[in-house]
């Protein structure tokens, strides 16, 4: 308590922000939690009660272990603390067990592991430069960035209401980015390798890391015009990087290799039997594709181009995760999405290789990789948008153009997370927090860049304002109409499609800014 008083008493704003958001997280403990809560309880039970050889085979519960081994070890460590809270939660057969102590433990574990995220934000704030607009604390880029990251609405509701452990994972990612900014490449690579073995979704951004490290770390110097100098290749560096990655992977997958369980582990990690879209369409390209398909099929039926008997009964929005066919447009296979994703990533990778702009260029490429994978990936969750939003915050306090893209991306991305919290008591919380965050982010970035041209043109402004009526319509007006019974999926469809438009636009704008930007002058400091 004394340290707290001293830290706060000296006016240390960063601690105050971190403490404030932690207190808010404590208030969110009794809110609604999704099935992810049961998922993690089940994993605590599996890792605690069963030997390693059973971890990836256990299937008593439908929520089988489908994260890489480091996460399983993490749950194992947590389970040893959990047994002091409630021994019953560690029983594999106690499905859906959620006593108040279990809830308390799980929630506190998320809040506690967020310390890593706070530390990572602290490190990131040291790295970003940013212009000094005014002497006010609240106008400094560091302050704005801290608030945008620590109080990020998406992370708050996904981690502390919906229940997941993204906080410390994003902490690892931001920390690895910070280390790359600080030219501590080996550490950055190590942290990213560890992160990959915690949650393999970060494979989305692995190409950015790979290309950047190869280009800017393994080739130690550039020619005067910025292009690659082939004879500056340093094999020492390549080998050390490779060694780091190899060691981490060995530590993670080694035990399972020894047990000959690798195929099983991989089948758990990459379940391609799921459908193109999640029950609620993530607002990506495929949402627009599906919507177009539906519209065309409806038009086709009306104009008698299509035979009603040939249309499959299963609807995309029926809420079951299954495979289905499109009616008018060609169906999409996992391979097709992979190819689309690779094609989408390639330009940014090429930019990173041929026009390296140091860590900032790497960050752009990372964001583009994350966004492109979100746009074209197979069975993407809407939560994956956070993978793009959080690193984008680092760029937003640098340039006005980036700030504008960030705001569009963040606002639509956060709004698309609303269907995750569909219960009545969470309604005021999510609206209030979203409004707070959106209003703060827009006003602070506008103040930061007030000397440059306005952040939004009128189209963008209208689009963002349109989110308000959309929310009112979907949450309040729609349930009162008769359509609620006939077409119950319409609010989700509308939300998904509307946000998909915004996110696609942001992706496009960011891409254009990366491709068009001139290579940085060698004499300028990064």
């Amino acid at each position: 308590m004394a340290a707290l008083t001293i830290a706060v008493g000296t006016g240390n704003w960063f601690s105050a922000l971190a403490l404030g958001v932690t207190l808010l997280k404590c208030l969110l403990i009794p809110t609604y939690h999704s099935t992810d809560f049961e998922v993690h309880r089940n994993w605590l039970a599996i890792t605690h009660s069963l030997p390693i050889s059973q971890w990836y085979y256990e299937a008593t519960s439908e929520w089988t272990l489908d994260y890489p081994p480091f996460f399983a070890w993490f749950e194992y460590i947590l389970s040893h603390v959990a047994k002091y809270f409630d021994q019953e939660m560690l029983n594999v057969h106690n499905l859906n067990y959620s006593s108040s102590r279990t809830l308390l433990f799980q929630r506190f574990s998320v809040i506690f592991t967020d310390i890593l995220f706070v530390y990572a934000v602290h490190e990131c704030c040291k790295c970003i430069g940013g212009k000094k607009v005014g002497k006010e604390l609240t106008e400094k880029p560091k302050f704005i960035l801290s608030v945008l990251l620590l109080w990020n609405f998406g992370l708050l509701i996904v981690d502390h209401i919906h229940f997941q452990y993204n906080g410390f994972l994003f902490g690892l990612m931001l920390l690895s980015i910070a280390r790359l900014f600080q030219k501590r490449h080996i550490e950055g690579a190590f942290l990213f390798a560890v992160l990959l073995h915690f949650k393999h979704i970060y494979l989305y951004v692995a190409p950015a890391y790979g290309v950047y490290l190869l280009r800017s770390y393994c080739f130690t110097a550039n020619k005067p015009d910025g292009s690659i100098r082939w004879n500056s290749f340093s094999s020492v560096r390549v080998i050390s990087l490779g060694l780091v990655v190899f060691l981490v992977s060995a530590l993670s997958l080694g035990p399972f290799l020894a047990l000959n369980q690798l195929p099983q582990v991989f089948s758990r990690l990459f379940p391609f039997k799921r459908g193109l879209c999640h029950a609620y369409w993530a607002p990506n390209f495929w949402a627009l594709y599906n919507a177009l398909d539906k519209v065309l099929s409806v038009i086709g039926l009306k104009l008698k181009f299509l035979d009603p008997n040939k249309i499959p009964k299963a609807s995309m929005t029926s809420g079951l995760v299954q495979q289905f066919q499109h009616t008018v447009l060609p169906s999409v296979t996992p391979l097709a999405t992979l190819i689309c994703t690779l094609i989408a990533i390639l330009p940014s990778i090429f930019c990173l290789w041929f026009k390296p702009q140091g860590p900032r260029g790497f960050l752009r490429c990372l964001i583009l990789c994350a966004l492109s994978s979100f746009m074209f990936g197979w069975h993407v969750h809407e939560k994956a948008i956070l993978l793009a939003i959080l690193p984008m915050s680092l760029l937003s306090v640098g340039k006005a153009g980036d700030a504008s893209v960030f705001l569009i991306l963040t606002t639509t991305g956060h709004y698309s997370l609303f269907p995750l919290l569909f219960t009545a008591p969470e309604l005021p919380i999510k609206i209030l927090l979203m409004l707070l965050f959106t209003i703060y982010s827009i006003s602070s970035l506008k103040t930061l860049f007030r000397k440059e041209k306005p952040l939004f043109n009128w189209v963008e402004t209208f689009y963002l304002l349109g989110l308000g009526p959309l929310e009112v319509g979907c949450e309040f007006v729609f349930p009162l109409t008769s359509w609620k019974l006939k077409y119950p999926f319409i609010p989700l469809l509308l939300t998904s499609v509307y946000c998909a438009v915004g996110i696609t636009y942001a992706w496009f704008k960011l891409y254009v800014s990366v491709l068009i930007d001139p290579p940085v002058d060698k004499t300028k400091k990064q």
Binding site: T138, A279, L436, P488
Partner: protein
């Protein structure tokens, strides 16, 4: 398929931002799931039921439809009208919530959301604008400090916990009272007195604050001269007050018996006014408004806007507000609001510390005790350690409060003294309040002496 299950209610659309209020609402409510009497939440719901289904004449009377033993109405008519308004909204959404007799003990998530929203709307319409406007009117303070001031006032845990946790509508009457204070200090006397009358007609406890209001306005009239403008003002004020009372009580003035019955319900002589420790919040605001220490000659000082204390003497106000929240601990524990209490108290403390850097403002001058200590030093030349004493007292007070909280939560009281911890909490709070009483008295007395001396000099 995840349908959107939403309890429709007239929800707020844009807010000034108050995460603790909306987040603490997901915690328990008083009396949740505790038949046969439940708690204040059920009382409010019951009043909606009564006011909607029964004619006005029966609201305050005992009858087969209206059992006064089961949460009978015991607030003035404005509360009843407010309940009626909420009942109309409830009827639109789900009539089951206010069905006569059958809705007793009704508890559902949608209903909880509805009730909490009514508190939030009342807050937004009345209390929060008053606070914001008050902070805007503060002079000689930067915008940043004004915002910080407003934030700290709004973050006051006591009000948040009682209104949103325990469940009451205190913010309405407090908001009206604040409007009243704003009005009279900006020279809009009629509007100010109207607002204050509304406050009294909402909760009769505001009568605590009526005396200084009355004295202050009377003093204003005297200042303007009883023969001319002052008399006109007095008449205008009297008319405003009488008119507002008549307006509120109109349906109950038709029969003498009605009026008497309402008065009997408002001021039950057989019950104590400080029942059930909820009245502690009134105690707190009492001292906050420096009511107990009225000295007729120093009315101007007393009527300084209430929360000026926070920006003037941040250290003492923060300390005081912490104690006032702590004093409600037994009640909050009963309602299972331990986590929100701890969290909001810490948030409030952190907000005050960072906004006002209170630990640097403990010198004698900052605490407005300079003239007092100068006077004391005339008799005791070595009395130079006043601020040091106060700092130590603060530390002791905080440590005691934290320890008591921990003890109440973790330990079981001995069997012979089951109320031990509640009594201890009350006792400690009382000691603190007495200290503040002495402190505020000192400030008033020595401040006026200072002014008189200054007048003599000039």
């Amino acid at each position: 398929m995840r349908f959107h299950y939403v309890g429709q209610a007239g929800l707020e659309l844009l807010t000034s931002g108050d995460p603790p209020t909306s987040a603490s609402q997901s915690a328990g409510i008083t009396g949740a799931g505790k038949p046969p009497m439940f708690g204040d939440y059920e009382a409010q719901r019951h009043w909606q039921e009564i006011t909607f289904n029964l004619p006005v004449k029966q609201w305050y009377f005992n009858s087969s439809d209206n059992n006064l033993q089961y949460w009978g109405l015991d607030y003035p008519p404005l509360t009843a009208y407010h309940s009626l308004l909420c009942a109309y909204m409830a009827k639109f959404i789900n009539p089951d919530w206010i069905a006569l007799h059958t809705s007793r003990g009704y508890e559902s998530q949608a209903h909880k959301l509805f009730m909490r929203s009514t508190v939030l709307i009342a807050d937004l319409l009345i209390y929060i604008p008053a606070v914001v406007l008050y902070c805007c009117c503060l002079k000689e303070i930067s915008t940043k400090k004004k915002i910080a001031n407003a934030l700290c006032i709004l973050l006051y845990p006591g009000l948040i916990l009682i209104d949103y946790g325990h469940f009451q509508y205190n913010s309405v009457s407090l908001g009206f009272a604040l409007w009243g204070i704003l009005g009279v200090s900006c020279d809009w006397d009629l509007l100010g007195s109207l607002a204050f009358c509304l406050a009294v007609n909402y909760k009769q406890m505001e009568l605590y604050h009526s005396l200084p209001f009355f004295c202050f306005l009377l003093g204003k009239c005297f200042k303007k001269g009883l023969k001319g403008k002052g008399f006109v003002l007095l008449v205008k004020l009297a008319c405003t007050v009488v008119a507002s009372f008549i307006l509120c009580w109109l349906p109950f003035f038709t029969e003498r018996e009605q009026t008497l019955q309402v008065l009997r319900r408002l001021f039950p002589v057989d019950r104590g006014l400080f029942e059930d420790k909820v009245a502690n919040i009134w105690c707190s605001f009492n001292v906050l408004l420096k009511i107990k220490d009225i000295l007729p000659r120093h009315i101007q000082l007393i009527m300084r806007p209430v929360c000026l204390i926070l920006s003037d003497i941040p250290f003492m106000s923060t300390w005081f507000l912490l104690v006032s929240t702590f004093s409600m601990l037994p009640l909050l524990l009963k309602d299972e609001l331990l986590m929100p209490s701890v969290v909001t108290t810490m948030a409030f403390f952190i907000a005050c510390v960072t906004s006002f850097t209170i630990f640097e403002k403990t010198s004698e001058e900052e605490l407005q005790l300079k003239s007092f200590s100068i006077s004391v030093r005339k008799y005791l030349p070595c009395f130079t350690f006043l601020s040091r004493i106060i700092q130590y007292l603060f530390l002791i007070s905080v440590i005691t409060m934290v320890l008591l909280t921990l003890m109440t939560v973790t330990l079981n009281p001995p069997q012979k003294l089951p109320d031990l911890f509640s009594v201890l909490v009350c006792f400690v709070s009382c000691l603190n309040f007495l200290f503040f009483l002495v402190y505020f008295n000192i400030i008033i007395m020595w401040d006026s002496k200072n002014r008189r001396n200054q007048k003599k000099i000039s």
